[in-house]
């Protein structure tokens, strides 16, 4: 028996595993499309016509973040914690898969799945909604931000699931974080500026706040100071990485 390396078959296995999880399909693929379309129909009659395309575009940018949050923070955490509860990663580890190899395969598979979901979301919204035409640089910026967010949320979800090792607490914490992020980052109808000062301070350390409130400002061009956003990414990434490292440490095998 040899130490198993990262290979396409392992990534395919993880893709099948994701596709078999109905929660990810519903909340990570269908839900963001429904939400963006629903909001745009609601706004059609309630906002001035001049502002309509800008608001719909803002909704499109904001709702795009539901994809990584639902697929990775909730879907992956739920899926992986169930696997841990049944000792499936340990079983694979005993078949020669290193934890890092399995983690990498999962991350690649989730990023592929998220890409598919982004493409479907963008395709449907472009067809159905009256979106502003962006500058290429703004689109690239949004794509990079969403992938960076996906990687960080993956790390956070993996760390949480590995620390708790049980579906119940992992799901509870990831749901609290999910709704917390949605409330703090302007995805539930309250903008970051409307939050009380204490909550606003928390929101400012989360990159999602900047994406939902600021990206529309340079969507069709203009200057933007990326420093606070980058700082928020670094902070959010560092916290997630610390949780992941703690979980690795907790689950180390004694023989190498």
């Amino acid at each position: 028996m040899q130490k198993k390396q990262l290979n396409w078959k392992l990534v395919q296995y993880e893709l099948r595993n994701i596709s078999g999880n109905i929660f990810v399909i519903v909340f990570g693929v269908i839900f963001p499309i429904l939400m963006s379309v629903l909001f745009s129909f609601v706004f059609k009659s309630s906002v001035p016509e001049l502002l309509y395309t800008e608001i719909v575009t803002s909704v499109f940018i904001t709702m795009s973040m539901i994809i990584p949050m639902a697929v990775l923070l909730i879907g992956y955490a739920a899926n992986y914690s169930q696997e841990l509860e049944k000792d499936i990663p340990l079983r694979l580890n005993l078949f020669g898969f290193r934890e890092r190899t399995m983690l990498l395969a999962k991350m690649i598979a989730y990023l592929i799945f998220t890409t598919g979901s982004f493409l479907l979301y963008a395709g449907v919204d472009i067809l159905l909604l009256d979106l502003q035409v962006p500058k290429p640089g703004s689109v690239l910026c949004l794509i990079a931000s969403l992938y960076a967010l996906s990687v960080i949320l993956f790390i956070l979800a993996h760390g949480l699931a590995t620390l708790f090792k049980k579906f119940g607490p992992t799901y509870a914490v990831s749901m609290i974080l999910y709704f917390g992020f949605m409330i703090l980052c302007g995805m539930m109808g309250v903008t970051v500026d409307q939050l009380p000062s204490a909550l606003k301070a928390i929101a400012k350390v989360l990159p999602m706040s900047y994406i939902s409130s600021d990206y529309i400002k340079f969507w069709q061009g203009g200057k933007y100071n990326f420093a606070p956003l980058i700082q928020a990414y670094l902070f959010f990434g560092a916290v997630s990485a610390i949780i992941l490292l703690l979980s690795f440490r907790k689950n180390q095998r004694k023989i190498k």
């Binding site: 028996m1 040899q2 290979n7 099948r16 078999g20 340990l90 079983r91 095998r253």
Partner: protein, 299 residues
Amino acid sequence: MLIINNLQVRYGNQLALSIKAPLTFDDGDRIGIIGSNGAGKTTLVKSILGLINYQGNITTDLKPEEIAVHMQHNHYVNTMAVKHIMETILNTRIKRNRALQELISFFDFEECLNKKYSALSGGQKQRFTIILVLIQDAPLVFFDEVTSGLDFETRQKLMSKMAAWYRNKNTTLCVVSHYYEELEQLVNKILILEEGQVVDFGNKEELFRKYCGNTVITIDNNQRNIDLTKNLIKIKAPDHLIALSCQSSSIEKEVTELLIREDINYKRSNNDIEIMSINAKARFFERKTGGIAHAEKTA
């Protein structure tokens, strides 16, 4: 291949396993690991696999990936057919892997390949992991209660298949089981654990001679048989049986002639693991309580 020395495993304040004298597993050994619930069998396997923290030494030149294991409970994802899981774990295609096809056929598993793991029966689930373990061809393999929860017929079939598979192979096998009749066809050494300690470890036949004599004759435990055998050497046996120890073939002949004359059904064995382990454990506890009594006396 593997030496265990001065091993101690604790769960909180409780000492779950304590192996003081060195235990050596050699190449090609077929070791049956037996003992009551909580004796430390699975703890020992987990220690060797490095899955739990321990004090002491487990020395081996094997890498973790050279040790294959069928755990007591094995689970897989339910989001896909088991053939995809199998192909991923083995990094192969079933259609292109002759050896794997043969093993699947050997364990009559063809019809299960398109099912999800949750849809397999208990025996099919066990066979699935066994196929994955056997095809690895690892030098050291653990089977931890591989047949628990299966009916008698399925157990027998599974163990015969495993015995046939490992015949003429130099694999070191460690089989944890509560079913002694399974071990009889598969192992040549026995490790008896009780209350986290080693009762004895050695060649199956030698242990039998040490605790039972040359042969053991067992008969039903009833008043007539108790009266009839009151002058014969008895050793400990399960409650429903009387076990007569025969130290030589002449004694065995006398005993069997008596039983035939009295028209009493009997069973003869020179490798009964169950009776051997009962007597080994009885002596172990005698030594232990004797030791305690002696220590109390000295104090």
